[in-house]
């Protein structure tokens, strides 16, 4: 019978260990919250591209700050993100489409993957014309 009951010493040891473990977990939670804080403001998701007249019909303009490619076709304005869908390098716009300098991914002019480690097409981005006839690009 007495083999199954806990001695006082063992109980105290167990209790202390439990309390210290709980303390440790609390400390870890605090540490995690501490380390998980962002101090930098989120990067912008809306971009002013200026007057629409800067982008005449038929134009393909690389916007390196976003990075994106703005197209003005007959159907209107559209934009393709130049962020490679593999690991995020900025792809170069080429006559045959887009080429990524990092691991060799290739995309056709519409952004679909033609070769390379990437397996998702380049994102299409939304473009809007404001009431003052300016263009706005959205990356979200």
């Amino acid at each position: 019978m007495s083999n199954r009951t806990l001695s006082r010493r063992d109980f105290l040891k167990l209790a202390s260990a439990a309390i210290l473990t709980a303390s440790g977990l609390l400390g870890l939670e605090g540490l995690f919250r501490f380390l998980n804080t962002q101090t930098e403001p989120l990067p912008p998701t809306e971009f002013d591209l200026g007057p629409a007249s800067n982008y005449p019909p038929g134009s393909r303009k690389v916007l390196p700050d976003i990075p994106a490619l703005l197209l003005h076709a007959q159907s209107g304005y559209s934009a393709i993100s130049l962020v490679c869908t593999h690991l995020g390098c900025t792809v170069e716009s080429k006559p045959e489409g887009f080429a990524c300098p990092c691991h060799g991914s290739r995309f056709d002019p519409q952004g679909n993957v033609t070769r390379g480690p990437a397996n998702k097409p380049l994102r299409s981005l939304r473009v809007e014309v404001t009431s003052d006839n300016e263009l706005r690009l959205y990356t979200n």
Partner: protein, 344 residues
């Protein structure tokens, strides 16, 4: 049970009498603990602190107000640092007042003095890293004191400040000293100091034939006591840090503000008080150095404590050294209190 790594860091047994709190005041151990807290909290602060004049103050405000537990980490760091100075002085005093610097412990005494100096300098460099209005004049006067040293003053100043006046170069150098240069030196000295404690025979005790009490405690009991002390110290430090925030003023901008009384950090108030007397080199460099040298020479120039009297407070054989130490400490405390009085 089989002794763990931590058990093996301690001797198998130590004399029970000298292991008591009333003998050592646990001062040395507390100092080590506080240094560990400083190390950990300091590393955590490094995730947010930016060592440029434009960003330092803002990054500290971000850490204090906008990061979860950021204020706690900063307050822990601040209070551990201030208590480290106090505990180190208590430890030094204990060693002198129990004659525990007698041979073969003279080298270890010097190592400890080195640690005290490093602790004070770490406190000062950390203080400057705030780069707020509160530290502005302490930085100017402190670095100018270095300039007042004849012959090598200007070269030392340039090495310290990185330019002709305190600025971005100073901040990054102080940062380098604080997080690495002096921390590394302190780490080495702590290791050496702890090693010497064991090599010199542990806590100072009379030789075995002269001991009244022959009982000893095991390394298991010793570690248990240390864990207990750490738990209590942690709790006290935590509660203090939660309810008493570390000071912070507005960041330094180019123009000097309307002056309130500029106060030195508390551990240098005695020097600030002396500097009111005149010559900066004399009162700001020579006298403090003399105090340091005097303390360091105690094991060498005064009658040494005899072995039979070791292991207890106020042995007769080194009364002179004890008196001198207490006198100097009292003077420093008096000067500190005088410095705190409102200016007439």
């Amino acid at each position: 049970m089989r002794p763990s790594f931590f058990h093996h860091l301690h001797p198998p047994t130590i004399p029970a009498k000298q292991a008591r709190f009333r003998y050592t005041l646990a001062a040395g151990g507390l100092a080590v603990f506080l240094m560990l807290v400083l190390l950990v909290t300091g590393i955590l602060e490094m995730f947010y602190y930016i060592p440029t004049p434009a960003e330092a103050g803002n990054s500290i405000q971000t850490l204090t107000f906008l990061v979860p537990y950021g204020g706690l980490v900063r307050n822990l760091h601040y209070w551990s640092a201030q208590f480290l100075i106090i505990v180190s002085i208590v430890h030094l005093l204990r060693v002198i007042l129990t004659g525990a610097y007698a041979p073969p412990r003279q080298l270890n005494y010097l190592l400890g003095m080195g640690l005290l100096v490093l602790a004070i300098l770490l406190d000062f460099t950390g203080y400057v890293l705030r780069w707020d209005e509160g530290i502005r004049w302490a930085l100017v006067t402190g670095t100018n004191l270095v300039k007042s040293i004849p012959l090598i003053g200007n070269a030392l100043y340039t090495m310290l400040v990185g330019g002709t006046q305190p600025g971005p170069a100073t901040l990054i150098r102080f940062y380098g000293w604080h997080i690495f240069g002096m921390t590394l030196a302190a780490g080495i000295l702590v290791a050496w100091h702890s090693f010497r404690v064991r090599r010199d025979g542990g806590i100072a005790v009379p030789p075995p034939p002269l001991r009244e009490d022959q009982t000893r405690i095991t390394r298991f009991e010793l570690l248990r006591r240390e864990i207990l002390a750490m738990l209590l110290a942690s709790t006290a430090l935590l509660l203090l840090s939660v309810f008493a925030p570390a000071p912070l003023a507005a960041p330094i901008t180019a123009s000097a503000p309307a002056s309130e009384m500029a106060r030195a950090p508390w551990f240098f108030l005695w020097v600030q008080q002396m500097l009111k007397l005149g010559n900066p080199f004399l009162w700001g460099v020579v006298v403090p150095l003399a105090v340091l040298v005097l303390f360091s020479l105690i094991p060498y120039i005064f009658p040494k404590p005899v072995k039979p009297e070791l292991g207890r407070w106020f042995p007769k054989s080194n009364r002179i050294a004890q008196a001198l130490a207490l006198l100097i400490l009292l003077s420093i405390i008096t000067l500190t209190l005088l410095a705190l009085l409102p200016a007439s």
